[in-house]
């Protein structure tokens, strides 16, 4: 095995159709995969998963960062984590007011099930809740 050149850092890249949101070397990444949360340390085995709406956490020394991730894919290699998300926001750039409003709207819509598309309303609610959770972390 290649014990000689073990990676000690992870290159975390978060890319969305609206540009690269984040690209830095970090120590640890925790993300919400479609099958549950997973953590990545350097020298992870190659891993490809879909991401659901949720939180992404990275640790870099004593610094911890939080992101809201809206669907996407994650490709994990020994020295990198590549996130391709439909959209992603850093915890401090989230508009909490807007998320709260979206949450209220989605809940209303879920109550009137016959009038609105259930799947869309559920997704909107998930997004709003995840945004609020991530925003609280800053």
């Amino acid at each position: 095995m290649e014990t000689t050149n073990l990676a000690t850092k992870l290159k975390l890249e978060i890319v969305t159709p609206y540009g690269t949101v984040f690209s830095e070397e970090v120590d640890e990444v925790i993300a919400s995969g479609s099958e549950g949360e997973f953590g990545v340390l350097p020298n992870h085995i190659p891993f490809l998963t879909t991401l659901k709406i949720g939180m992404l956490i990275y640790k870099k020394g004593s610094e911890t960062g939080y992101f809201f991730v809206n669907w996407g894919y994650a490709e994990v290699g020994p020295d990198k984590v590549l996130i391709l998300a439909d959209s992603a926001e850093r915890s401090d750039s989230i508009d909490v007011q807007r998320a709260l409003e979206a949450k209220k709207r989605a809940e209303e819509r879920l109550k009137q099930a016959e009038k609105y598309d259930h799947a869309r309303a559920t997704a909107a609610l998930d997004r709003a809740i995840a945004r609020i959770q991530v925003a609280e972390k800053k």
Binding site: E13, V15, T16, P17, Y18, G19, T20, G33, S34, E35, I45, P46, F47, L48, T49, T50, Y73, E75, G77, L82, L84
Partner: protein, 289 residues
């Protein structure tokens, strides 16, 4: 010789044209800014998506209809041009590249199938009585993601039902505001050999969650969408860039023409004054005698 009035009329005409080209340049510049931002934002996403696909396609030979390699019989060429003209050699370059590609595959005895985006390509092939499989017109400027999905789905469908066996997409890649580069990129099939060369990661074996099939089913069609979207965005930014520089040239030419005509006008005016003076002097001389 042109009379004073003729020259004056021409100057006015050129001035009017100049005003139009100048306005068009401004419009193109503002559209360019929008298109360019969108395109630059999309680029890393499309590149990374390609990277992932390249890495995993070696891992799933034949697992998904889009990964199946089969003998090539029909080659599809998707040509992306603009709907409107007045953008320099933008469309000519694309059509030339497409024509070259088509010729090459014809000589190798493949069937050719053509899809077009943009009115200019549509008119071009129609004029030459070349059958067009499918066409999308009126996208530039007001393209939505739903439009992109329509184009991508059509390509995916015709590949899966074996109407076409290989797909190229020909578009203008945005290099800078004044420079575009025609690209003929292979969209399908995703071949293992090429992807291995590109990234050197083809040998990686991934763990997949939820499952390999699931991920392939989602990611492969999505990748086609993303790549088509990217090509369309590049093309639009290039189009506005090409139009902007074409209009700037036109404005410059108009300026040159105006100064030339003004010179001519002044010369003619002077000549006519001189002539009149001579007439008067001649008349006075005649009266003296």
């Amino acid at each position: 010789m042109a009379t004073l009035r003729d020259i004056k009329r021409r100057i006015t005409a050129v001035k009017n044209t100049k005003q139009i080209t100048k306005a068009m340049k401004m419009v193109a510049a503002s559209k360019l800014r929008k298109a360019q931002t969108k395109m630059l934002e999309m680029r890393p996403y499309a590149d990374k998506m390609n990277e992932i696909i390249a890495g995993m396609s070696g891992d799933g030979e034949g697992l998904h209809p889009l990964l199946v390699q089969r003998p090539r019989r029909t080659v599809e060429v998707v040509v992306i041009t603009s709907d409107r003209g007045l953008c320099g050699a933008f469309n000519t370059n694309i059509l030339k590249t497409a024509e070259r590609l088509i010729k090459k595959y014809k000589e190798e005895n493949f069937n050719i199938s053509i899809s077009v985006v943009g009115k200019k390509a549509f008119d071009y092939f129609k004029r030459r009585n070349i059958p067009i499989r499918n066409s999308w017109l009126g996208l530039s400027g007001k393209m939505t993601y739903a439009d992109v999905q329509k184009v991508a789905n059509d390509i995916i469908e015709s590949y899966i039902n074996e109407t076409v066996d290989e797909v190229f997409i020909v578009y203008n890649k945005f290099k800078s505001v004044i420079a575009q580069e025609t690209q003929a990129a292979k969209l399908l099939p995703l071949s293992e050999a090429e992807s291995a060369v590109e990234t050197g990661t083809a040998s990686t074996v991934f763990i997949y969650e939820p499952s390999r099939e699931e991920i392939f089913n989602q990611l492969l069609p999505k990748n086609i969408e993303v790549q088509v979207y990217r090509a369309l965005l590049e093309s639009q930014a290039s189009e506005e860039g090409a139009r902007m520089s074409a209009m700037e040239n036109a404005t410059k030419n108009a300026d040159e023409m105006i100064s030339k005509l003004t010179l001519q006008y002044n010369k003619a005016r002077q000549a006519s004054i001189t002539k009149e003076l001579m007439d008067i002097v001649g008349g006075v001389e005649a009266l003296k005698e």
